[in-house]
Symmetry: C2
Subunit: 474 residues, 2 copies
């Protein structure tokens, strides 16, 4: 009986109270910002019909989907009819198709829920993790992109992030470049993957990989020339005095768009991508986030469903991104007999928490104590009176723990102290006879008797935090 | 492409914004109350190792667990190594065993998360549903029971429930009764199931079922006599003038305990159950909830892991319960080489929401509008200015939606109105030239121009609700 495993499943985590509080703080801030942008909450089931998910994430994605066995008789065949949610975008597309008559023309929703991927667990990579998604459906306007970038950016600022950059590119620009080198459509996805990791693996490895993928030598050389050009362009900006003055990013972005248009894209379809990015940059100015954006033509984004702008948020010293997204005008069409334009941004909760923990960005007043006061039990006979005191305090909104058993006072104090509870209340025989309660401040050791009706007042805010409990949310 | 199914999986639900807001309101109130009792939040993964769950819920439970296929090569064998969480109690027992050195001696946790059961879906019965659990581990004291009953009771009161009753019984009393009729241990579980549904199916059907289950005629007759006695006792209380005065329940409970002790249990082990219930009732007095409790000896509770007190909350006109729980002193022992005493209460979120919706218990000021104001787009050229206004208002904490495209004003107003947004802001050419913004109240139709810096002030609280956004949590 006693040897059963007690660990959580591989790649999954238990969150003890202090962890939950951190997570809830971050989620609360993000929600608050998204609501300020007029986004509304949506929740979908953890489990989807398997055909809803299959074929939406590419071959690798299909492999990583957790599949659920059919129940009853079918269990023996090993057939799966359900699967765990892999991201929040495909369920959103399904929801928009299902409730098209109930949803507003422009559906702006946020969704903060876990997703599951059967990835090999690694540092910072889990099999159950939260995504914080924000999407707008129903409009092709670049106002959508600008608002999404501003909302995600504001959320990070509200969490205390400073030096992040929203990288911005466009799928049509990438397509234009690949067409410029006459790389056939069927090889685009693979070429983009190499382009995406060029900075990590270096030019030689990249060339080799392109050739292995069957891309012609001439095209590979051209693509590497382009990548070199992009890197030069990018590196040069930091030498610019305007860049150094902090006014630079917006000016650089405009110049970069001009250069790629004239040097590489010319009359191609890629120009449409340039025009859309230029529009986004202009609108971002109105929203005050133009200097957060960095146009980067080597940004590719893995998922195949993107059709227009793509973006990704990075911070210095963090490999990988804090989030990303883009426009996916055709995904809803996979569930419906018509396309619905769509664009979204997804922030990764786990990475945000990792960075905030490392950089000490959690507010000091984040609740770390389970209660404002612990009522002790003097002896078996006084339990009722201790409970009555707890009850009175709670109806005033004080968070009250009660030691559940009669025990040595020292032991009870030590217990409260170890749990960071700032005060203990003692209903001893003498105090009780006088209608009083002894209050001991466990941080200073000071103890005094107060009238029973004054106990709540005697509990001065622990560590700068007001006594909570008035005013329930709505 | 277009015929893919768009419904959520069978027995599962999508929650559109208005649903999510209701759910979050209820969860927020329950959390707030539980925190006031010193409970701390815990979260565990949706997915557990399959051996963690199997064998904990009886045969029927095993059938209802959603099982997850092994990945990779194993997929073909149909082998399952993981499963979806079936309740929040078994994961809690695992957590207590796993982190015994990190957790306080008395671990008081609440956990509000979904669970999954492959039950046949029916009205009000879903395959994904939320449980709101609150448990205390580490103490055998009846203070635990009293505090749990008070906490669950306070949560319901805070949600606006009035006429609910916390039914209270004890597994040892039930065992005592069954032993009184010499029913062998092995038949106890089945006998209790019949006793539990006696009121629903009637005495004749109950007798037949007892006999089919192999219980001797004499024992069956005795058990029905007992059930009749319990019903009489129970029904008689409402004739009592004290009961009618509202002071009755506590007095009735004491009398009922006295009667069962003298009439049926005598010197048996069942007396220990009576003594514990008497203690709980006494402590409940200190917490002011003694009149919420109704001792009912026909309450059995299905789960096999209960060892002591059991409770269940019912409201008039609702078949089934709003929640229930009990003491389970041996469950942690299934994961650890020692037992840890434990007791808990679980509220069912879906039932609470059903009753609150039927009885109109949601506060009128619950947010039903996605934004406090919608900024319109006058024309293509003024988009930047509209976005700048939105940005200003948002930094003041106003929730602002922006119509994403230049469009006819009438159409934009209609859109905002249909979405319950109380105000629209118009940055027209004339207003813009004067540094003003036109604000239209869509409920009254009234429109006026205000200085740009006064816009926030001009948006009087929609439907009694203040402009939100100041003061992020915590």
């Amino acid at each position: 009986m006693s040897s059963a495993k007690t660990q959580p499943a591989r790649g999954m985590r238990d969150f003890l109270p202090a962890d939950v509080r951190k997570r809830e703080y971050v989620i609360g801030v993000i929600k608050e910002v998204y609501e300020r942008y007029g986004f509304e909450p949506l929740e979908t089931p953890a489990v989807e019909n398997i055909e809803t998910l299959m074929g939406k994430y590419g071959d690798e994605g299909n492999q990583l989907i957790f599949k659920i066995l059919k129940r009853g008789e079918h269990a023996k065949t090993g057939e799966a009819d359900l699967a765990l949610r892999y991201d929040l975008t495909v369920p959103l597309a399904r929801v928009v198709a299902q409730y098209q008559n109930e949803l507003p023309k422009f559906f702006k929703r946020y969704q903060i829920q876990p997703v599951w991927r059967a990835d090999r667990p690694a540092r910072g990579r889990f099999r159950e993790f939260y995504q914080c998604d924000v999407d707008v459906l129903g409009s092709k306007s670049m106002v959508v992109e600008a608002e999404l970038i501003a909302a995600a950016s504001d959320a990070l600022v509200a969490l205390g992030f400073e030096n992040f950059v929203v990288k911005l590119n466009h799928r049509r620009i990438l397509t234009g470049i690949l067409e410029h080198f006459s790389i056939p459509r069927i090889q685009h996805a693979e070429a983009l993957i190499v382009l995406d990791k060029l900075n990590k693996i270096g030019a030689d490895a990249a060339r080799e990989e392109l050739l292995i993928k069957g891309i012609l030598e001439k095209a590979a050389t051209g693509l590497l020339d382009f990548a070199f050009w992009e890197k030069e362009l990018h590196d040069s900006r930091e030498l610019d005095p305007q860049w150094q003055s902090g006014q630079g990013p917006a000016l650089y972005n405009e110049a970069a768009l001009h250069k790629i248009a004239t040097d590489w894209l010319k009359e191609s379809d890629g120009i449409e991508g340039v025009n859309e990015l230029a529009e986004i940059l202009g609108l971002a100015k109105g929203l005050g986030v133009e200097n957060r954006i960095s146009v980067q033509f080597n940004l590719a984004r893995g998922l195949s469903y993107y059709t227009g702008s793509i973006f990704e948020i990075s911070v210095p010293d963090l490999a990988g991104s804090l989030g990303g997204g883009g426009r996916y005008d055709n995904l809803v069409g996979m569930f419906l007999d018509k396309d619905v334009p769509a664009c979204g941004f997804s922030l990764g909760l786990e990475r945000i928490i990792v960075v905030m923990t490392e950089r000490n960005k959690f507010p000091a007043e984040l609740v770390t104590s389970p209660a404002d006061v612990m009522v002790t039990i003097w002896n078996e006979d006084s339990i009722g009176e201790s409970l009555a005191l707890a009850s009175e305090l709670r109806s005033g909104g004080v968070r009250v723990d009660v030691y559940p058993e009669a025990d040595k006072m020292g032991k009870q104090f030590k217990y409260a102290s170890a749990r960071n509870i700032p005060f203990v209340a003692i209903v001893g025989d003498d105090e009780s006879a006088r209608g009083e309660v002894a209050i001991k401040d466990l941080r200073s050791g000071e103890q005094r008797s107060v009238k029973r009706e004054d106990v709540a007042k005697a509990l001065s805010p622990p560590s700068g935090r007001g006594i909570k409990g008035e005013g329930l949310a709505p």
